[in-house]
Symmetry: C2
Subunit: 563 residues, 2 copies
């Protein structure tokens, strides 16, 4: 602490709000913070009553979130910490949800800000959980399987409806006017640094390796984004877009740009400080939680993200069904491995809101009641696919299942079974990754559920049969962004030479871990075997005992019935 | 109507209350009625917090129900109908739920009335939906399969945990003291006529062919109840019970006894009038609704019962999975065929009460919301096995399943899917019975749901692809009992010579039937095919795609977890 006090700003754009953290670069102390809820739609999400797969967000909310958080966080930091002065802020880091592509014009303005597109859902940001491109995802997977199998191998064998090209192609098919008006499509994580840097053309954007590699089949091995010939197989228009995509993508410890004077003035910050390349919230959350070799980070929110790293000195085999393995996407010098479940907290929220028609307080009551139940005592078993399956099946057309219901099955028993189902889903992912030689000796968790729900954490410890550690910071994503800001600023400005050095100074976790209970673990092993039976039968084609088409048939019937 | 006005009393003992109807024998006019709720337990049901399979009832409630209803129904009838006078009552008919065996001493007193057994769950009436004898049912099925396959053929190939000997044997194993104190076990339907007739020994009881044939493997072809040698295979004590079971059983149009002076005085009725042989509520409900060749009656309540008749002039083949085919159990001269679902209304009640934690008013709201949905539009599909499967799988160890869940699945969608699931279950039964040559050209429905829930009725019409007719009487069970009382009394007393003649005079149905919508029917055909896929996979061993053991494994794990 002999060093001169300097600060970094971490911006974390989540599903419903944006958060800003002002971090003391020396020790990770969180000097001040601010949160700003997106004002549009339903908690920031724009939906289509006629199509449950649509989830969009307003780019105007994203831009407004800068002025909504940074000045307030700076004020809070100054109030709490006399050493803090705006001129001591050495950089800004940014993480966002994703894949969240935003159509922009040639001046880098989101189409959604144009009057004619203001109310057009297609012109908004296509939120990560938007599944309207399901058919396109299937077609991309089929085309890549035939023509570019190496593209697929890096993203688990299946291209998802949640990802960049599925969404853009769906827009082309469904909303030609928007597609034609768009010069290109920027990932949310690339858009914010570009805005802060005052760029006026998409051609100057320094894209993040994290969104590009994990969601857009970008890889330095084959020259960046998928080649134009392949993209033309989707459609000539997508092929033509290729030349308007960035030539290279960069890790998040690199400089995306310098804070422009206009935004510096609006935010009360020094102009010219570096803005780091953007990355996904989960990846920088993992950095903020201390991800490292053998130490997996699980970010638990509406969905979950499992982030691991494996040394890039040896070649890592492709892992079937694991969404992404991208060199440099988490920590420079390591493969970043991303897996995760498309709904976790969302499942509990759905149950409380839609099924029980309760308010948020019901979570507390159900958690208390569910905690009084013994593992396995409900006789219930669920598949956690209410929002499809992201890992290891990569199939948005899977749905949730609940079995073992009796006339005595209670609300709390179902709630607990849903938590257990997500834990089984988590174990299935971990088992798959371990089969391919990536050992996981420790799980560090972050997110509201990890901090507030001991029942959830204990069930996970028992099902995964590993201690579960909770990150000390409640804001690991913003903290990870601040870490990258400090590395982008570099040692000369009071920052760090590398991410691991910064992590060592900044990251910490709570002392009490959740320890696995062997008796519960044994019962859960039995339930997990049944979970795997259903998982494979309903989720994998050609398993012998094969209900694989059933969930898809139900969606077909639903589509017909609603037509 | 030129005949002298005479009246018959129909007593209908349901799951939660007893109802008495005073019927004008000439035309079926319902002159007066009364209902009395069982005061014990939870709406008359005694449960065991440690074992969800236990459901018992108090025999004292049953006896008290006589004075709780008959005098009030007579008063109501006199007030409404000046011609009605107690001396014009020509007989009493009785129906009850079942199989509901009651342990009694040698003086015909229920053990539950003895001080030492008053709080003993084993000494109470073992309610129809008690499943604690699941293991015994399996063992009886296995023994009969090996040693007396013809016993099983009449009850659909599997002896149920809901039935007489499963319960008695379970009592012997779990509660030896009660078993040893019992002289014999009377079906509820036999117990009430015996009480009204003032019998003081079980040996004088005239048992009903309906409970004996449908639940206790009684058949005149093999000399009545199962032989002592077979019952001794269960245990010597059950074998020894054989000689204390009645030698013969009788159809419900026969006289069980004559109203004794003591009860005549208490009830305000003439002593000596005939009390008809008892039968199950569903069977006499079918009689009251006008069951006949080709005309199936569906009694829809907490569970459902499908009752059909087929001429006894030709031999009817055994129908696998159909609970009972018993000559004379519904109408004399016909095979009575009983099938049904172990939970229907109970499933909706469970969902509203246990899952949604709503009160009864929620049914109305959910029905309105569900009625606004199109068939198949929810994408949900359920198996209706929350209380096991009675027909055609005869397996209490099956449980409910719900698939197709998404983060948008609503309370009303699930409610509708549960209704649809029971309709698919109903269709599966109908399909099976038709495969064996019993044609069903018309479905007459009775019960509260049939009268009050047009959505339910329309879904059934669409799924079964047949018009659904509603019985005019809201009290078909009590009406059927009164019909049997009028036949037991005979023409000389102003009654009838036979049940069909009495039905022709007394039964009627509402004019408006629910007509099947062909478009909905086509969609439901597709969903029904998926229902059958899950039905066979989870419910039938050895189907190729076979999750048959999974539900049983969950119950095993539950048992272990609760131990």
């Amino acid at each position: 602490m002999a060093r001169e006090p300097v600060f970094a700003i971490g911006l974390d754009y989540g599903s419903n709000s944006v958060r800003c953290l002002v971090v003391d670069v020396r020790d990770g102390r969180e000097a001040g913070s601010a949160v700003w809820e997106y004002p549009s739609g339903d908690s920031g999400v724009l939906t289509d009553p006629g199509n449950p797969h649509v989830a969009r967000q307003s780019p105007a909310d994203f831009v407004a979130g800068l002025e909504g958080t940074i000045p307030e966080a700076l004020r809070a930091a100054r109030a709490a910490c006399p050493e803090m002065r705006p001129e001591r802020v050495i950089g800004i880091g940014v993480d966002t949800t994703g894949s969240t592509p935003i159509p922009v014009d040639r001046h880098l303005q989101p189409l959604a800000l144009q009057k004619r597109f203001r109310r057009d859902l297609g012109a908004q940001a296509w939120m990560w959980k938007d599944h309207s491109g399901m058919d396109e995802a299937e077609a991309i997977t089929a085309l890549a399987r035939e023509h570019r199998p190496h593209y697929l191998a890096k993203c688990g064998g299946t291209y998802s409806s949640e990802w960049y090209f599925s969404k853009i192609w769906h827009c082309l098919r469904q909303n030609r006017e928007v597609f034609d008006a768009a010069y290109t499509w920027l990932e949310f994580a690339d858009f914010i640094p570009a805005v802060l840097s005052g760029l006026t053309s998409p051609d100057g954007v320094r894209a993040g390796i994290c969104p590009a590699g994990h969601k857009a089949m970008y890889c330095d091995e084959w020259g960046g984004y998928p080649d134009a010939e392949f993209l033309s197989l989707l459609s000539p228009e997508i092929g033509a877009l290729r030349e308007r995509l960035p030539a290279r993508a960069f890790p998040a410890d690199q400089v995306a740009g310098r804070l422009c004077a206009a935004w510096a003035g609006r935010l009360g910050l020094p102009a010219g400080i570096p803005v780091a390349v953007g990355a996904f919230d989960a990846h920088l959350g993992a950095v903020g939680a201390g991800v490292g070799p053998g130490r997996m980070v699980k970010i638990i929110g509406t969905s979950t993200c499992d982030v691991l790293v494996a040394s890039a000195r040896e070649r890592l085999p492709d892992i079937p069904g694991v969404c992404g393995i991208v060199k440099g996407s988490v920590l420079p010098g390591y493969y970043g491995i991303e897996a995760g479940q498309s709904a976790v907290g969302d499942i509990f929220n759905w149950f409380v809101t839609e099924v029980c028609r309760g308010d948020a307080s019901l979570h507390g009551r159900l958690t208390r009641e569910a905690a009084a139940l013994a593992p396995g005592a409900s006789g219930l078993l669920a598949l956690d696919w209410e929002n499809g399956n992201r890992t290891i099946l990569v199939d948005a057309k899977l749905t949730g299942l609940l079995v073992g219901l009796t006339l005595h099955s209670s609300q709390a028993e179902i709630y607990r079974a849903l938590i257990e189902a997500t834990a089984f889903g988590a174990r299935r992912i971990l088992d798959r990754i371990q089969e391919y030689g990536v050992r996981v000796s420790e799980v560090v968790c972050c997110g509201g559920i990890a901090e507030k729900n001991p029942l959830f954490m204990q069930i996970y410890a028992d099902v995964l049969r590993r201690p579960m550690v909770v990150s000390a910071s409640a804001q690991t994503c913003a903290l990870g962004s601040a870490i990258m800001a400090a590395v982008a600023a570099g040692p000369a400005a009071g920052g760090y030479a590398g991410a691991e050095e910064a992590q060592a100074a900044i990251c910490s976790h709570k002392q009490d871990a959740y320890r696995p209970d062997p008796r519960a673990g044994t019962l859960y092993d039995e339930l997990y075997a049944l979970y795997c039976e259903l998982h494979d039968s309903f989720g994998v084609a050609g398993t012998g005992c094969d209900h694989y088409p059933l969930m898809k048939r139900l969606l077909d019937i639903r589509r017909k019935a609603r037509a």
